[in-house]
């Protein structure tokens, strides 16, 4: 049992209170994982390309930031 599902309620809540939630809104239902999506080769390659590109750009921003901090006179 996941940590999420611990502390199960043991009382008797009002019926209409419980019916206020849709069945798939219950914690026990929301904890069930949705099925894994199969990505085709093009999509996977696109995601990888985007990731490499973003990491490169992030590295450039961080480099410029660190250099700026080091070179700023205190």
């Amino acid at each position: 049992m996941q940590d999420h599902q611990q502390h199960i309620y043991l009382g008797e809540p009002e019926e209409d209170l419980i019916e206020s939630l849709e069945p798939d809104q219950l914690v026990i239902e929301m904890d069930k994982p949705v099925s894994r999506r199969r990505l085709n080769g093009y999509t996977t390659a696109g995601l990888w390309a985007l990731r490499v590109f973003l990491l490169t750009i992030t590295g450039m921003v961080i480099y410029a930031f660190v250099a700026g901090v080091i070179n700023t006179p205190r």
């Binding site: 809540p13 209170l17 450039m60 921003v61 410029a64």
Partner: protein, 461 residues
């Protein structure tokens, strides 16, 4: 919801009651949902809207945070109202488009954004998304405490007291064990974001000049290309960031919203966009007084800065309201960004991730919520910490990493197995792609110019 679950067998609410599978979280959420159903049943349109607004307003006003308001003010002080006033308005349109997608995916799937990335695309992409979020959130949280510190210093409040106040606010807001309570505290605080509109009015802008700026996007900025790209990318990062996607989707789930609530949730998101755009433009218009009077603004963000610089032109009351606005911007964002951090990590490790859990039942969720704020607060109090550089770069980091979050969001919103008939229409995909390209270009162009200027190749300065 069209989504398949594993195992596929679904229990009804009544069956769950009979089997004793309800958690206190279900009960708390169902109490709030009952009021929504009653309002809908009795045809109380405004009552229903009042119950359902929250995530959209909070995410968009929350993104009008410390560094964002300083970015808008810096835009006005550096370039006047010409180009950036309509540009900021357009970025909020982009933000509303993105956030509507996040809201819709949350309402239909009842799962947070991080949770869906993990389950639908696997742990590798899931952890990359969460690591991106943690990096940007931590840096941004630091800047929120900087905003509080700067705003309070205008009134002579010492830095430790100002920063401690921010932490007390976070601790107080999460202590109730109910999403509704946390949300209403945050909404009460969010109203004060409109202080920037008050300051803008006090700066007595020329209505004709405002209309001219919106109509023509001129005068165009001139001067250093790197500075222009820094301000441009900061403004993009001030309105469209990864934490917003994580937060709104998780908040919609935590609030218990369903597909029937989507019309009201759209109003919530659009209203949030309008109010946030008004406040953001207000900060720019107020600070444009400094541009008109040729005040050097290059170092203003380091101290009480803008408020003191504005005081000769808008008086002490105006400067004080500007400072209070900064404090509000930082305080609200600490709450929302800490929450997005706790939601995302809880979803990643399959731990508790709901404000509807009691403190003792969700120690990790509340611990991360407060812990993230404590770490950021500690950085702000380090003597000699480069607060100015951190503030300027916080939005940039968000801008650079946003395209990845956008691509996954668009994929989720188009996932017919998850979304069924509520998946994105084609025209919305084109707008979403345009937003991703705009954000990507803004971040990339600044990064390239700043990097080559830093290594000494000044061909683009």
């Amino acid at each position: 919801m069209a989504v398949k679950t594993e195992p596929s067998e679904k229990a009804s609410s009544a069956e769950a009651t009979a089997e004793g599978l309800l958690t206190p979280e279900d009960l708390t959420r169902s109490g709030d949902r009952r009021r929504v159903l009653e309002a809908r049943h009795r045809g109380r349109r405004f009552g229903l809207l009042w119950l359902l607004v929250g995530p959209g307003l909070l995410v968009l006003l929350g993104e009008n945070d410390g560094p964002s308001m300083l970015s808008y003010a810096a835009s006005g002080a550096t370039y006047g109202i010409g180009f950036f006033l309509p540009f900021i308005a357009v970025t909020f349109v982009a933000a509303v488009v993105v956030q509507e997608m996040a809201m819709r995916v949350g309402a239909v799937t009842h799962r947070g954004y991080g949770e869906l990335i993990f389950q639908r695309f696997g742990g590798f992409w899931g952890w990359l998304s969460v690591v991106d979020l943690l990096g940007t959130n931590l840096v941004t949280l630091v800047t929120e405490f900087i905003a509080i510190r700067v705003g309070m210093s205008f009134f002579g409040v010492p830095a430790p007291l100002a920063v401690g106040g921010g932490l007390v606010l976070v601790a107080f807001s999460i202590a109730g064990g109910r999403y509704w309570r946390w949300e209403r505290i945050a909404l009460g605080l969010a109203v004060f974001n409109l202080l920037f509109v008050v300051v803008a009015v006090m700066s007595r802008p020329d209505p004709a000049a405002l209309a001219h700026a919106f109509a023509t996007w001129t005068p165009l900025p001139n001067g250093s290309l790197q500075l222009f790209l820094l301000v441009l990318a900061s403004n993009v990062g001030a309105t469209v960031t990864p934490w917003m996607v994580f937060f709104q989707q998780s908040a919609v789930v935590d609030k218990g919203m369903t597909p029937k609530d989507i019309p009201q949730a759209r109003i919530d998101t659009v209203l949030g966009g309008l109010l946030a755009a008004a406040a953001g433009c207000g900060a720019l218009v107020a600070a444009s007084v400094l541009f008109v009077h040729h005040v050097d603004t290059s170092q203003l963000q380091a101290g009480t800065g803008f408020a003191q610089a504005l005081q000769p032109f808008i008086g002490y009351p105006g400067a004080a309201i500007f400072s209070l606005g900064l404090v509000e911007a930082g305080a609200l964002a600490i709450m929302t960004i800490s929450a997005s951090t706790a939601y995302a990590l809880g979803e990643a490790v399959k731990g508790p991730h709901s404000f509807n859990r009691k403190l003792g039942d969700a120690k990790s969720f509340y611990g991360i919520n407060l812990g993230a704020a404590v770490v950021a607060a500690a950085v702000v109090l380090i003597p000699g910490a480069p607060l100015l550089s951190i503030t300027l770069n916080a939005n940039l980091l968000a801008t650079v990493l946003m395209p990845a979050a956008l691509v996954f969001l668009i994929m989720l919103a188009n996932d017919r197995e998850l979304m069924g008939p509520r998946s994105n229409p084609g025209w919305l995909n084109w707008i979403g792609i345009a937003v991703a390209v705009l954000v990507g270009l803004a971040g990339t162009s600044y990064a390239v110019v700043a990097f080559f200027n830093t290594v000494g190749w000044h061909f683009l300065s």
